[in-house]
């Protein structure tokens, strides 16, 4: 039961990543691309956690935590750059 659910979930998250990736490539404006990157890292967290459940390993969790922190910082830095034309104040 759990294995079946995990397989379906893997496919769904993979499609989600694919859709965000398409948006990252075509996305007409720069904020669109930032948003696509943001979504991409959230989806990656989901994929890593699912892998962790599937492989019975808690190690993937640490990677997910790091991606969450770094992704947030990246989004903030890029948006700040658009707002000010400069990252540091």
């Amino acid at each position: 039961m759990l294995n079946l659910a995990l397989s379906i979930a893997f496919v769904m998250v993979a499609i989600a990543i694919l859709l965000s990736f398409i948006r990252l490539i075509i996305g007409p404006s720069v904020p669109d691309r930032i948003l696509a990157l943001d979504t991409l890292y959230i989806n990656t967290i989901a994929l890593l956690i699912l892998l962790g459940i599937n492989l019975q390993s808690a190690l993937y969790f640490e990677a997910a935590l790091l991606i969450a922190v770094m992704g947030f910082m990246g989004t903030l830095a890029l948006s700040k750059y658009l707002l000010r034309g400069d990252i540091m104040e």
């Binding site: 769904m12 859709l19 904020p31 943001d38 459940i53 707002l83």
Partner: protein
């Protein structure tokens, strides 16, 4: 029984993650696309993380609560990054869909 709950949580989480990305892909302008990832994806990943917390609490002896940390972190940071991206988009005047309702005053 518990396996069923886990399976449902995982499927629901994956479904909402997918809905967020579908919103990102198909909605017509940036401000509308912003809604998908900030709400749906956050909840989706939250559900998957809670499933993971339950799973590891059962498998290993002792509770595994550190997944809650990532969930909380995502719920706090998602609106902040959405706010900043919207601000940046308004600043550089990203195009809106024509039928967007403008401010009344």
């Amino acid at each position: 029984m518990l396996e069923w709950i886990l399976a449902i949580l995982i499927i629901v989480g994956a479904f909402f993650t997918l809905v967020g990305s579908i919103g990102l892909f198909k909605l017509p302008d940036f401000y509308m696309r912003l809604h998908g990832p900030t709400k749906a994806s956050t909840l989706g990943v939250g559900a998957i993380l809670i499933a993971s917390a339950i799973h590891f609490s059962l498998k290993t002896d002792g509770v595994s609560l550190h997944e809650i940390l990532v969930t909380l972190f995502l719920f706090i940071t998602a609106p902040v990054s959405a706010h900043l991206m919207a601000k940046a988009a308004i600043h550089i005047k990203v195009k809106q869909v024509e039928r967007t309702r403008q401010l009344e005053d």
